[in-house]
């Protein structure tokens, strides 16, 4: 009797298990999409921060009005997502400090690579820095690749962090907002001619900091155009 019951249980378990083995006949997210964001002038990587640009993906294979998904940029101006479904997408870089660009329709499967050339609103040029005691002094000028229609310029801010991941989302706040320069005006010859100087006082001694400056305009997104990142060793 016991054996019969045991046997029935085993049978039941087997049957229950077997009913779970239906194959999923859709492909997994096995495609990857990556690329670089390029500055239209230097053809170097676009100067941005982590999430400073979003790559908007709209999968058109199923619907004309899909819910978009986004790939955030990396700090070096590249982007990569290795868990995408193969399909036909419209890809548009958005949410960054550059003139709007048209989306590209393309098939993504395997590892697809696509670079985007972007025109920044502003560039930070002639960027120099020096350390005066524990005060970091950064000097630079601003230039505008396209002047017509450029939104109002808001401010320039220093960003300072203890790692090389530095930007508006990764900065030590006491070094940033108290030392910013408000501009709040439209682009003008005065702004183009001026050499800006940002001072960050009271850096902690015997530390290494990473710093850069960023400028933003009053567009839809209010993201920053950045300088290069510099390393500062405070003695």
């Amino acid at each position: 009797m016991q054996n019969i019951i045991k046997g029935l249980f085993i049978l039941l378990t087997a049957v229950t298990m077997a009913s779970c083995t239906k194959e999923d006949n859709f492909d997994g997210p096995d495609a990857a999409f990556k690329g670089r964001l390029l500055d239209n002038d230097s053809k170097e990587n676009f100067l941005t921060e982590t999430g400073g640009v979003q790559i908007k993906l709209e999968e058109l294979s199923w619907s004309a009005t899909p819910t978009p998904q986004y790939i955030p940029s990396k700090i070096d101006g590249t982007f990569e997502d290795t868990k995408l479904f193969s399909g036909h997408y419209r890809v548009t870089p958005v949410n960054g400090a550059f003139w709007p660009v048209q989306g590209v329709e393309m098939d993504i499967n395997g590892t697809t690579t696509q670079d985007f050339t972007l025109t920044p609103y502003l560039r930070i040029t002639q960027f120099t820095h020096e350390l005066e005691g524990t005060t970091l002094i950064m000097r630079f000028k601003l230039s505008a690749p396209v002047e017509t229609g450029l939104p109002r310029i808001l401010d320039v801010k220093p960003f300072v962090n203890t790692s090389e991941y530095v930007g508006s989302g990764a900065t030590i706040s006491q070094y940033t907002d108290p030392n910013k320069i408000d501009i709040n005006s439209s682009w003008s010859a005065d702004i183009a001619a001026k050499t800006y100087e940002i001072r960050v006082p009271n850096l902690k001694a015997a530390r290494t900091f990473y710093a850069r400056v960023g400028v933003r305009v009053d567009d839809s997104f209010k993201q920053f155009n950045y300088s290069q990142i510099i390393e500062v060793k405070v003695p």
């Binding site: 004309a64 009005t65 819910t67 958005v94 949410n95 709007p100 508006s168 706040s173 006491q174 907002d177 009271n202 009053d218 839809s220 997104f221 209010k222």
Partner: protein, 607 residues
Amino acid sequence: MKNKLYISIITILAVLLQPSCRDLNIDPLNVIQDKDVFATDAGVKGYLATIYRALPIEDFYYRQEGSGFNRQWEHFYHPGALCGELVGPYGSTYDGAGGFGYWPYGDIRTVNYFIENLPVYGTGFSKEQIDAWLGEAYFCRAYFYFALAKRYGGIPIIRKVQHYPEQSLEELQVHRDKEVDVWNFIGDDLDSAYNKMPATSERARANRYAAAALKSRAMLYAGSIAKYGSENFVAGDARDQGYAGIPASAAAGFFQRAWDAAKLLEGHYSLYRKKTDKELNYVDLFLDRESTENILVRDYSLTTGTAHSWDATMTCRFMTADGLSRAYPTLELIERYTGQLPVVNADGTPRRFDNTSQLAQGLEPRLLATIYFPGTTLRGKQFDMQRGIYEHFTGTAADELGQNPPNRPYRHLAGKTETLFNGMRIIGFTGISTDNDDLTRTGFYVRKYIDYNRAQSQCGLYMSTQSWIDMRYAEVLLNRAEAAVELSNMADARNVINDIRDRAGAPLLTGAFTIDTVRNERCKELAFEKQYWWDLRRWRIADKILDNTKYHALMPYYVADEQKYIFLREFEPFQRSYNFEKKFYYEPIPGGELGKNPNLYPNNPNH
């Protein structure tokens, strides 16, 4: 014999078949019919009560996210805590900026059904009575559309009850209407409401002046969106097609309609001035059921299970019977009334106070009636806010708040009230603790709407019954003043503002002033009334005010060796930063609705 059998069968069949020829279309007796509802006074009243209950009044319960209009106890999830009026439990502005997918087309259908069927079945009522009820329905419909338009911009305007399956899917999948058309539709509905309704109404129901008051509010919103939204916007398809955004040319017309509507109330309502003590008068304005200022209220009671928890959740447990508080007025809000408070001497050293209540001396009565300052009392208990103790304090406030504070080694903070330093409690029973946020984080508590006459034992959860004033005359005056300034009618704005300032006990407005003066007056007068969030949005300044902004506290310390108190203007202890992205000037159309009706695309820009 056989024949007899056949005849009987035929007879039986014939008898049996008889009833089947009768139509069985009899109204069921257990379901209330339209004629029962719309032909009787009680039926109409009950139907309207359903609509009023669903009305999106942003009362004590309202949250800008999550449960929205549903009734939960945590009133400290206040929209002001998203945008710097309060600091509260929200981690950042993002927690509420996207809304909660409010989509009340079911309620709008209820109203439309009423508008269509009342004239059909209510033939027994007088024309005036029918008009009065229809007017209320138009008022409510406008109220729903206003709640939609301020969130989403252009949404479909549904004027008639839709029928399924009689109407095809194509017909039912409606398109968005242009934003400007929605605002005009709201204005027109409120005009109908004004023309149909009488001048007075039962408590908590609309009359013609409630319609005019709502119109002044709605048209002011439309005007500011037209004027400021055409300068500060997010580009996108919805904007290009007119679903998000109003042409700037429409602004003046909307402001004029707002001013005209506000003017209609003149002489019919007045600012509450029952008590001579201006502070107490302003406190009672929110508690006196007979206030001459109230235009539309919502009532609560224990017996209907609608009582709220404002008393239990806006001051701390020290003064209440249950619950806890988590939202506290920011110093920035207080500085709207006072400028920088006089807590620093000319030489930069912190001013010494004999006791903390000296801080409030000479301040505007309205401010003291809106916010509990240190040293004030409630239910026999004192607000004894104290951040900590300095053994001694030398130098300036600025140095102490800088990066190398000289007195920091002599400072003592605590998480619990029982922690002592030399036998003295380090923090007060009402804060400010290092442990958590159920005691104040800023040194202040909300006073507006707090029922000071209520015994402490009656201040539990779901026990408060003071009414929410959804529209009061002061707001209408502020609507009028703002519209007047936008229309360059400065004299009218000055008169109106001075009426409000006189009641508030504030110095009257003399000399030149700007739109910012009027806006600041609005922020002061309507503080905590759940207007600030929408005001920042419609003025299109939220992205500037909330630009990674941190808010401040005013921390009282006891200086032990001097036996004096000082106040330091510090960041509130959580140091949360608030950021508003431009795309949040419009909330996203709810995803579920987009799924059901692809004609609602394009969604608002960047959503």
